[in-house]
């Protein structure tokens, strides 16, 4: 095996090896057992005291959601305000301007919902103050919101019958102080000592060896890059994200950043097993997700390492593979691997430009986001998977002619309706957005907007359609990566994706929390020989089939118009 493939395999195996103990640790944190981060306990208690929070006070699912949504709303207003007025605030050594209201709307939502779609460039569109007080801050708290939602759901599943999902504020605070902050400090320090800047110095002007004068953007980036991955956020300090040599200096940091983004989503699966004591179910979920991931990854690696057929026709050699939009220090294998991981787990950071990936690699990236449950984002990945489970339970129930059950509770019409709405609404949002955009490009290219629809696309033909499809897929999955050729910093894209972002974040959180809130309240039915076992391999395959069918029906036509058509025309 060559060194590029070895790097990919070892990175993945290391992630799983580290995620397993981390999962056990996370379960301990939320059970309140002793852990190695007990030194953070005084800080945690101090936070409760000054905020007037009683961590022992239980919340039912409605109170839990109210607490979560209130604080999220507050963060939105806070972020919007800072972004618009950033030019008048301190810590702006490069003299960058304030954001326009529509851009600030999009950016505030985007970071609030853990998506990090960036319609600005980090070097020129934000200041050090907003990078830290908005981006860096929201990266922590949005990840903690997702994890807290999942832990609330697990609290509902843990007891036989309960109306409590735990205390949102306490779970949230624990997530920050015991999981995200300690891991971020370690990761950030690794990055700093490999060359990522952390100081507050502004742009530097240098004369190059050849005698040109250029500027070099810098700033306190390392801390943000750590949480950007650990929290599966993905928004870069620099415009080129983790392809930028200061944001991701070498192959080692590339492995570290990759492990950082994989580790919590995978650990949450094991944490589920330990926390509600369903280890077998955790392994089945992990198995299904890993098989799905490999089905997307292996063909992608093949296409990227194989090189571009169009470049091959020009007669040059492609010893490395397809190199447009990629960095030499990573090569096509690590770039292709990253492109799939970042899309299946909703990080959305990139170490190569996805717009220049091979057509079908682009399709695999989009599929990863459409499914959005192969590992998935911090906490929310499992919530998405739970929706698929509820639908699988329902269909399996129909097949055997029994009222479906999940973890000892009857799944009835109301729960199935919620699950169906969450699934269908997501597909609707995505496709309606793309349809609207494509309509303007095709029929009103000269529309009198600041940026004419005819100038949105950076590539003609099928690939242009893929750029629009990718953007809405990314917004809808709260992913944040993009086919960045798209001219997206204008009213249409800022507002439309902003709306998609907020709906596609909170509906898939509210849905599962409500389902489990309702289920947990019902009478517990002990398992009998006639019970459909949700921790068996058979049920795992059933869930997998449901995932494939739902997504194929929803998205195959759209994918045909974009990446598939481009592939067959190349």
């Amino acid at each position: 095996m060559n060194t590029e493939l070895t790097g990919v395999v070892v990175t993945f195996l290391l992630s799983v090896l580290l995620a397993f103990p981390l999962g056990r640790y996370i379960a301990k944190v939320f059970r309140g057992d002793r852990t190695i981060t007990d030194f953070m306990n005084p800080i945690e208690k101090f936070i409760y005291r000054i905020c007037g929070i009683d961590p022992a006070r239980k919340m039912n699912w409605k109170e839990f959601l109210k607490a979560m949504l209130t604080i999220n709303m507050l963060w939105f207003v806070y972020a919007l305000f800072l972004l618009i007025f950033q030019d008048k605030l301190p810590l702006n050594p490069d003299g960058n301007p304030g954001q326009t209201p529509d851009l600030a709307f999009n950016t505030a939502i985007s970071f609030l919902v853990n998506c990090d779609l960036q319609h600005y460039s980090g070097e020129s569109g934000v200041t050090y103050l907003t990078q830290l007080l908005v981006m860096n801050f929201l990266m922590f708290v949005s990840a903690a919101t997702g994890i807290a939602a999942l832990v609330g759901v697990l609290n509902g599943l843990k007891e036989k019958t309960t109306n409590s999902l735990g205390n949102f504020w306490s779970i949230f605070t624990k997530t920050i102080t015991h999981i995200l902050l300690p891991l971020s400090i370690v990761t950030a320090l690794i990055l700093v000592f490999n060359g990522t800047p952390a100081s507050f110095d502004g742009k530097d002007t240098i004369t190059t060896l050849q005698g040109d004068t250029v500027q070099v953007s810098r700033g306190p980036a390392a801390g943000m890059i750590a949480i950007k991955h650990l929290g599966t956020n993905g928004g870069g300090w620099f415009g080129a994200n983790s392809a930028h040599p200061l944001e991701n200096p070498n192959y080692f940091t590339n492995m570290v950043e990759m492990i950082a983004q994989l580790i919590i989503p995978i650990a949450m699966i094991f944490a589920l097993g330990f926390y509600i004591n369903r280890k077998k179910m955790a392994w089945v979920i992990f198995g299904v997700m890993t098989v799905g991931m490999l089905l997307l990854l292996i063909p992608t690696l093949n296409w990227e390492i194989g090189g571009s057929p169009a470049i091959a026709k020009l007669g040059v050699a492609q010893p490395m593979g397809a190199m447009e939009g990629k960095e030499v220090r990573f090569g096509p294998a690590a770039s292709g691997f990253w492109s799939i991981m970042t899309t299946i787990i909703s990080t959305g950071s990139v170490n190569s430009m996805h717009d220049s990936s091979m057509p079908l690699s682009g399709m695999m990236q989009m599929l990863g986001m459409m499914i959005n449950a192969f590992y998935g984002g911090c906490g929310v990945g499992i919530l998405n998977y739970l929706i698929y489970i509820i639908i699988a339970v329902f269909i399996a129930g129909l097949m055997v002619g029994r009222t479906p059950e999940f973890m000892g509770h009857k799944v009835e019409a109301r729960e199935v309706k919620i699950a169906a709405i969450v699934t269908l609404f997501s597909a609707f949002l995505l496709k309606a957005g793309v349809a609207l955009a494509a309509y303007y490009v095709a029929h009103h290219p000269e529309m009198d907007w600041a940026v004419k629809p005819g100038s949105w696309l950076n590539n003609p033909g099928y690939h242009g359609f893929s750029e629009m499809l990718y953007e809405f897929t990314s917004a809808n999955a709260n992913n944040g990566s993009g086919f960045e050729g798209l001219g997206d910093n204008n009213i249409f894209w800022n507002v439309s994706t902003g709306i998609v972002l907020i709906l596609s974040r909170f509906i898939p959180i509210i849905g599962p929390v409500a389902i489990i809130g309702l289920l947990a309240n019902k009478k517990y039915i002990p398992a009998s020989p006639g019970t459909l076992r949700t921790d068996s391999m058979t049920f795992g395959m059933m869930t997998f089939a449901v995932i494939i069918i739902i997504n194929a029906l929803s998205f195959f036509p759209a994918l045909t118009l974009g990446p598939l058509a481009e592939y067959f025309s190349l």
């Binding site: 070097e123 040109d212 040059v316 481009e566």
Partner: protein, 187 residues
């Protein structure tokens, strides 16, 4: 609602202080011990700063090893890839032009010897590296201009090549700026 707003407000303020003030300052403070004091590691030649070790530079002069095409012309005030799709005809024409231009500047090199990374733009526009093959294909040109022995230049590229990480993971690479600094010192 008041039941939720007040704790939310207080929790937000505490978290801003912890996560957006204390955390970055802590990293910056420890970062002072890192190479370049956490502000980027600079390369100095004869007491003069010539660039950042990690940030690629533009080399247009034929007497230097040239890096990869850049969508931002190597101005590190920004960063970006070309974002050109693989089927874009304009893009393929640009690549064709780069191939033609390379062949003109490098007489004796055949088209099929040019590795694609030399004629395709990098992801950041600031890629500091070349593959060893992409550096070696330029040796003949530089040897002729500088009247140096080609074998000596090939040896220089080998000496400047960083192998895979730990010898096992990822591709081998040559830092173009460091290679050119070493080239200028070569007699």
């Amino acid at each position: 609602m008041k039941k939720y707003i007040l704790p939310s407000l207080k929790l937000t303020i505490v978290m801003v202080v912890l996560l957006a003030v204390i955390y970055p300052i802590l990293i910056a403070a420890v970062g002072k011990m890192a190479p370049g004091e956490g502000a980027g590691q600079k390369l100095v030649v004869d007491g003069k700063v010539v660039g950042y070790a990690l940030v690629g530079q533009k080399f247009t002069d034929d007497k230097y090893f040239q890096g990869r095409p850049s969508a931002v012309d190597y101005n590190a005030a920004g960063s970006a890839g070309s974002n050109k799709g693989p089927s874009n005809p304009d893009y393929l024409q640009v690549v064709q032009d780069r191939i033609d231009s390379f062949l003109v500047h490098n007489p004796g090199v055949k088209k099929e010897e040019i590795p694609a990374e030399l004629v395709t733009a990098s992801g950041s526009g600031l890629d500091p590296d070349l593959s060893p093959a992409a550096a070696k294909v330029q040796v003949k040109r530089i040897a002729a201009i500088r009247s140096l022995d080609a074998a000596k230049l090939t040896a220089l590229v080998d000496q400047q090549t960083a192998g895979p990480f730990l010898g096992m993971f990822g591709p081998a690479k040559v830092n173009v700026l460091q290679l050119n600094i070493a080239l200028d010192k070569l007699k």
